[in-house]
Symmetry: C2
Subunit: 177 residues, 2 copies
Amino acid sequence: MNLEGLRVMGIDPGLTRCGLSIVEAGRGRAVIPVAVGVVRTPAGADLSERLLRLSRAVAEWMEEYRPDVVAIERVFERGNVSTVMHTAHAVGVLVLAAAERGIPVHMYTPSEVKKAVSGNGRADKRQMTTMITRILGLSEPPKPADAADALALAVCHCWRAPLLARTRSTLSQGGIR
Amino acid sequence: MNLEGLRVMGIDPGLTRCGLSIVEAGRGRAVIPVAVGVVRTPAGADLSERLLRLSRAVAEWMEEYRPDVVAIERVFERGNVSTVMHTAHAVGVLVLAAAERGIPVHMYTPSEVKKAVSGNGRADKRQMTTMITRILGLSEPPKPADAADALALAVCHCWRAPLLARTRSTLSQGGIR
């Protein structure tokens, strides 16, 4: 499966900070960075207001960059209860924005992203930032961390999508029983 | 504060089943039922597809019944992990639908709803259904449970809103220091 030219949007979901990235799959394992940024919503505002702002910001990105697919981090019940719930509400809004535009969504766990990008499912932030900077040929490390994570998600999808497609194809041919 | 005529939408959030209700505040503590129903999305469908269906269904209700305010259950990290996350994603989409229409959203915990409706924060399902049936003067108990819960949320808001308004008013007059 040739992914060349596939435009992937990576999303590191969050309500206080949400990392967004756009990359394009190149030849072989090449990945070309197109855009990266962070959407912030004020912690003091109502949940409604924050979700509305996030929804509008991600819609603008989708309209401007027209991604073919969205890769978003799968949220787990870990850490601060209120943060996890806020992030899960944000995921609902972000996935909806893609669904409304007919853009397929893939979810990856943090360890899947780490494994795909660095070869190590437990890589730390510094290692991940180094790898992302190198893979995308950036002149300096992307900041803040949410931006780097959004790029890592998009790269993860570029590298895993051909494998997923082959698996599906094998399955549909009855190759795996 | 006179709430008479206030139209409240109660939402018991969920992805597999989402309870929706519309009530109108009457004189004193009277509450008039307007509509009740359950939106279902197929468990086998993609998260994107399910959130899109839920979003469209709740949008239709909001367009048809034009609620002045939405009362929705606050989700906690309890029970089955995947269900909680799905419900939290659904809450994001439901709150966004209200925000996009400028409808204010209030969240209530299950025990706040039980306390308001039955006087007992630990009332069981049967007690709650009996109370809701009586309060709304229904000829038979609302079914399924998600529908009854959505009505209970709306009744809870009708009865708590005047109190919340008085508290805010007292605070803004500097009555509470």
